[in-house]
């Protein structure tokens, strides 16, 4: 095995199957959320999401049209005919049906149900019915029909409308979406700028204490941000920043800096010395070298860190709760709103699933679009 020409392991098929199983296992949870976000509340609570992929059989109650106005005279009898499936429910088919709740599957489709005293009902698989009886029988409200219905897979985008457009204050995520975006973008860009300069100094400038500073950065990499919560909140309240966007931007900048400096420095150290020395000989200042040579060459490392910081700030709950969200709750971010939804609407899976998926969608897009840089950043950040 292992790349030796002519040898092929007999275990290959086992490898394929186990990888397929693992991938399925890993995807299953996310797919469940995704599928659930396209189902109505009734559908979610009546069957597992995995059943929604297939035609599902369920017992439902329908009612024929009201006789008054729709009934047609046929000799001395009256007839009401139509279809129990309203517009939008096409594609369903009936297997068994009944006219009383005591026996909901009394008749087969096409069979004539005798409802006593000459009153009859015929129901076809496609839902069309013919209800026949005397003047007395065919009056008042429509007749109830209990049917065992096979419904084709049915999905709706209604939940997304609720969560993004309509929806009341607790359900609507649009505001939280913008809020998250407002937190994320500056909190991603500002640390990059600061860290890039620092990383250049640590990589290519000679000064006493450089090694010590690098060691400090490595040490600060692992300091849990939990320690920073109270002291910094006190500081923010003390100097008048309070709870708000500015505070959360600053906090994310501070917490993201060690990784940024570490990643960028490791990358910049690896850049060819010749280029930088040639530029120096040609009279370029450090500032010019940095902006004209180092920054463009460091793009992969900058991109890696940008993705990290973006994912981290977008997905963050703790920092936002401590530094951003005040009692008015007007600046809530998506993660925080979802936690609140979990508390208040724990059973409303259609809202929860959709809200969660809205918040997951953006990082997923970024992830798949820029996976290459993310992997590179991970490797640089931890293997070194």
């Amino acid at each position: 095995m292992d790349n030796i020409a002519g040898s092929k392991s007999s275990l290959t098929w086992a490898v394929h199957i186990s990888v397929a199983l693992l991938v399925a296992l890993w995807l299953f949870p996310t797919v469940g959320l995704f599928v659930s976000s396209f189902r109505t509340a009734d559908q979610i609570s009546s069957s597992g999401w995995w059943a929604s992929m297939f035609a599902a059989e369920q017992n439902e109650v329908y009612r024929t049209a009201d006789p008054d106005g729709t009934r047609v005279a046929d000799g001395d009898m009256f007839v009401v005919s139509g279809n129990i499936f309203e517009a939008g429910l096409e594609g369903r088919s009936i297997s068994r049906w009944g006219t009383s709740s005591r026996d909901v599957s009394a008749y087969a489709v096409g069979e004539t149900a005798d409802m006593g005293d000459g009153e009859t009902m015929v129901l076809e698989a496609d839902g069309s019915y013919e209800w026949r009886g005397t003047d007395d029988q065919i009056s008042g409200r429509g007749q109830r029909i209990f049917a065992t219905v096979t419904a084709p897979p049915d999905f709706t985008t209604e939940n997304y409308e609720t969560v993004l457009l309509s929806g009341n204050n607790t359900d609507n995520m649009a505001k939280a979406f913008y809020s998250t975006l407002t937190v994320t973008i500056p909190a991603t860009i500002i640390p990059i700028v600061i860290a890039a300069f620092a990383a250049y100094a640590l990589a290519w400038m000679d000064f006493p204490g450089r090694a010590l500073l690098i060691a400090c950065v490595v040490g600060l990499l692992v300091v849990p941000l939990q320690l920073a919560l109270i002291p910094l909140l006190k500081l923010h309240l003390g100097i008048g920043i309070g709870k708000g966007y500015l505070g959360v931007w600053l906090a994310h900048t501070g917490f993201g800096l060690p990784l940024a400096i570490y990643l960028l420095r490791n990358y910049m150290v690896g850049l060819p010395r010749d280029i930088i020395e040639n530029a120096k000989v040609d009279g370029a200042t450090d500032f010019q070298i940095f902006t004209k040579i180092i920054l463009p060459l460091s793009f992969p490392a900058l991109a890696s860190f940008a993705i990290f910081q973006f994912l981290w700030t977008w997905n963050d709950l703790l920092v936002a709760r401590v530094f951003l969200i005040d009692s008015s709750g007007t600046t809530t971010v998506m993660t925080s709103q979802i936690v609140e939804l979990l508390g208040t609407r724990g059973g409303n899976w259609e809202i929860l699933a959709t809200a969660a998926f809205v918040s997951i969608a953006v990082p997923l897009v970024v992830f798949f679009a820029m996976q290459r840089y993310l992997v590179r950043g991970l490797l640089a950040g931890s293997v070194k």
């Binding site: 095995m1 996310t30 500073l213 070194k384």
Partner: protein, 411 residues
């Protein structure tokens, strides 16, 4: 003002301010303070170059100092003072009060469980996937899909798994997968295989692995030729051996339990409220997220193994398992340790998952959530800071090791 506009302005001001600061300070340094002309041109250039690094570094050092270094000191101070008494120094009183609380010990116990299970499971599964996907054609896609949960927030993952653990009253259709599967078990032979035999096999495998590792650690005690390192190393070996013995004891007890427990077949379970086991249901969320990370790093390490070593092993007649465990794993041991410690760090700070799924109820408290609880619900800054210091204390061995290896690498 519209927050989006405010955000835009901040980006411009922030980025512009940073760039402006760097540009202007360099200009001031070169043109005003130490101009590179006149009599002392040479000396001025040297002086400017001595100062310049600090101009580049100043914002970063300032932010790091203010947002990471200062809080460590300040939290330490807060943990030794009493807020209600106007910040009076109370010594270790807060720690004493914290230690007296059951919840704290519950959080410590759970955290230890997390620290053992999550890094071990993530690294093991990650290594398995890395090895399996290495040689199949669609390996890249498989890896990318297993890596995907990395992008999902802890909160999003909590919602995803809450749906999986969802329970409805008996008789209704179950919408959570766990209960849907659970209700398939009826106590027949299939249930015996899946719920008693399979866990037993996994436990026995776990015991074997722990015993093997413990034997490696204990070997030098019996074989003096292997003994090296000072008393500290020997003491650490002893500690490892005790931990291993404890793990084996726990596993044996569970093994007994697996065969004797009566399962509640046919009853939907509220998984997150079953004490002790609910910790594992929460850990699954983190394992699901972190496995991709372990896989990516270990996969790169596996690729970096020199081909000759493997070919030599094949020629010597090693089978695939021997190649994996005796040739490959020892060569990537360093990377495995790095992955393990990185996940350990994540575990120590785990907050969102517990906060969103159980909020520490039903015996699932962990340190980070305990701390949040103290700081922002009980508003007890003393005990809150004390528990933050405990997290810091648990992190510090990794911190020291990181700094030490970074310095070694630079020399």
């Amino acid at each position: 003002m519209n927050p989006a506009l405010q955000g835009l302005i901040t980006i411009i001001v922030g980025v512009g301010g940073c760039v402006g600061y760097f540009w202007l300070s360099n200009q001031v340094l070169d043109k005003v303070l130490f101009p590179a002309r006149g009599d002392d041109a040479g000396r001025n250039i040297n002086r400017a170059n001595q100062i310049r690094p600090w101009l580049f570094l100043f914002p970063a050092i300032f932010a790091l100092g203010l947002y990471l270094a200062y809080p460590v000191v300040e939290t330490l101070r807060l943990s030794l003072t009493d807020r209600d008494a106007g910040g009076a120094f109370v010594g270790l009183e807060n720690y004493r009060r914290m230690m007296a609380e059951d919840t704290f010990w519950e959080a410590m116990r759970n955290n230890m469980l997390w620290l053992i299970v999550v890094p071990a499971a993530s690294t093991a599964i990650g290594l398995l996937v890395a090895q399996l996907t290495d040689r199949i054609a669609w390996g890249a896609i498989a890896k990318s899909l297993i890596f995907m949960p990395m992008a999902i927030s802890f909160v999003g993952a909590s919602v995803i798994f809450k749906l999986i653990y969802d329970a409805r009253p008996a008789g209704q259709a179950q919408i959570g997968v766990m209960n849907a599967v659970w209700l398939q078990f009826d106590g027949g032979p299939m249930s015996f295989i899946m719920l008693r035999l399979l866990p037993a096999i996994i436990l026995i495998a776990f015991i074997a692995v722990v015993a093997y590792v413990a034997w490696i650690f204990l070997k030098p005690f019996f074989d003096t030729s292997l003994r090296k390192g000072g008393a500290v190393i020997q003491a650490m070996r002893g500690v490892f051996a005790i931990v291993a013995a404890w793990l084996i004891f726990l596993s044996l007890r569970s093994l007994w339990g697996v065969f004797t427990i009566t399962y509640a077949y046919g009853e939907p379970q509220q998984w997150l409220t079953i004490p002790f086991w609910n910790n594992f249901f929460l850990m699954v969320v983190l394992i699901w997220i972190q496995t991709g990370f372990a896989m990516v790093i270990l996969s790169a390490a596996l690729r970096g193994i020199p081909e000759e070593t493997i070919e030599a092993a094949i020629i010597d007649g090693a089978n695939p398992f021997q190649i994996f465990f005796k040739i490959k794993v020892p060569q990537i041991m360093g990377t495995i340790v790095v992955v393990w410690t990185t996940i350990t760090l994540v575990v120590l700070k785990v907050f969102d998952i517990v906060f969103a799924m159980t909020n520490g109820q039903w015996d699932t408290q962990v340190l980070a959530n305990y701390m949040y609880d103290k700081l922002f619900r009980s508003l007890d800054w003393g005990v809150g800071s004390a528990s933050a210091m405990i997290i810091m204390l648990l992190v510090s061995p990794i911190l020291i090791w990181n700094v030490w290896s970074a310095r070694k690498e630079m020399k």
